[in-house]
């Protein structure tokens, strides 16, 4: 399953989500949007808006499903934990 996590390096919910995925041995692609610059950053923000309808973090995408925030039960359901 392809899992992509859009996060901010400063965001507590993002840290919790990463910890949760790491603790369960889940591999995922990570984009830390605030550490990007210029066009790369803007295109990541645009992607997050497109996926979630907003600019809240983290945004986790797994098999086309999107979870905003550290919503443990939703994440567990989508990735089958």
């Amino acid at each position: 399953m392809d899992i992509h996590l859009y996060a901010l390096s400063t965001c507590p919910y993002c840290r919790m989500t990463k910890r949760y995925l790491d603790d369960h041995g889940i591999t995922y692609d990570l984009t830390e949007v605030d550490l990007l610059e210029g066009d790369e950053k803007q295109s990541a923000i645009d992607r997050v808006k497109e996926l979630s309808g907003g600019t809240s973090f983290p945004v986790l995408v797994a098999d086309g499903e999107v979870v905003v925030g550290f919503n443990k039960s939703k994440i567990a359901k989508i990735i089958g934990l």
């Binding site: 400063t10 919910y13 907003g54 973090f57």
Partner: protein, 227 residues
């Protein structure tokens, strides 16, 4: 970009601490009907992130929202950002992060992590001020989402109506209260705070349901979108 342009805007004292932020933000949040989350470790974690952001970007931006670099957008996520999202937060019971929760919520643990936005259009009671901060016979302007509202206290009763006079768009809350009338500060048009009627034709204003709960003034609005 020159070094000058890169300079961090500094509005807080150097070496601002978590305790400084708590002392500074707490009273403002309280006036808006919020308190720090009851999960104290979580509060410290969020504020620690805000200190990191302060050092890097010059202000205490929300750690859960992205800064765009456009100040016209970014000022809306300076913590506490409650005034900009007061209807959404009233429905969620917390701010985006969950750093602040509504004062009437006893346990904030369940609110941590969830960031689902409530459904637009549903009615929500939004805390706008404490009753003690609104003296009898006075009005104040509050902004909830796109609504500009005059909240009026007559005796112990609270009323809420559009803040915009239909005559020349004056801010009604800057006028004065005379019995159950809110009198426009510019040309003296009188609006009945109970139903928004005026004696001028086709010039009534909209009213909103308002009440007091545990010392807080609540105004009911239909939930808007956060963006």
């Amino acid at each position: 970009m020159s070094d000058q342009q890169r300079a961090v805007r500094r509005v807080f004292a150097p070496d601002t601490t978590i305790d400084d932020l708590k002392a500074y933000m707490g009273p403002f949040a309280e006036r808006l009907g919020y308190k720090f989350n009851t999960e104290t470790d979580f509060v410290d974690e969020v504020l620690e992130s805000e200190i990191e952001i302060l050092e890097k970007d010059g202000d205490v931006f929300c750690p859960c929202r992205v800064r765009t670099g456009d100040f016209k957008e970014d000022y809306k996520i300076v913590c506490p950002c409650i005034p900009f999202f007061s209807d959404q937060f009233a429905a969620l019971g917390k701010c985006w992060c969950g750093l602040f929760i509504r004062t009437d919520i006893e346990d904030g643990a369940d609110l941590i992590g969830v960031m689902d936005e409530p459904e637009p259009g549903t009615d929500v009671d939004v805390p706008v001020c404490r009753l003690d901060d609104l003296a009898p016979g006075t009005a104040r302007h509050v902004k909830i989402g796109k609504h500009d509202i005059a909240v009026v206290r007559v005796g112990d009763d609270i009323f809420a109506l559009s803040n915009v006079c239909r005559h020349a768009f004056a801010p009604l809350a800057e006028g004065f209260v005379d019995g159950h009338a809110l009198v426009c500060p510019w040309h003296g048009w009188r609006y009945d705070v109970r139903d928004g009627t005026t004696d001028h034709p086709n010039a009534d204003v909209r009213t909103f349901s308002a009440r007091v709960h545990k010392g807080e003034v609540l105004v009911t609005v239909a939930l808007g979108r956060s963006r």
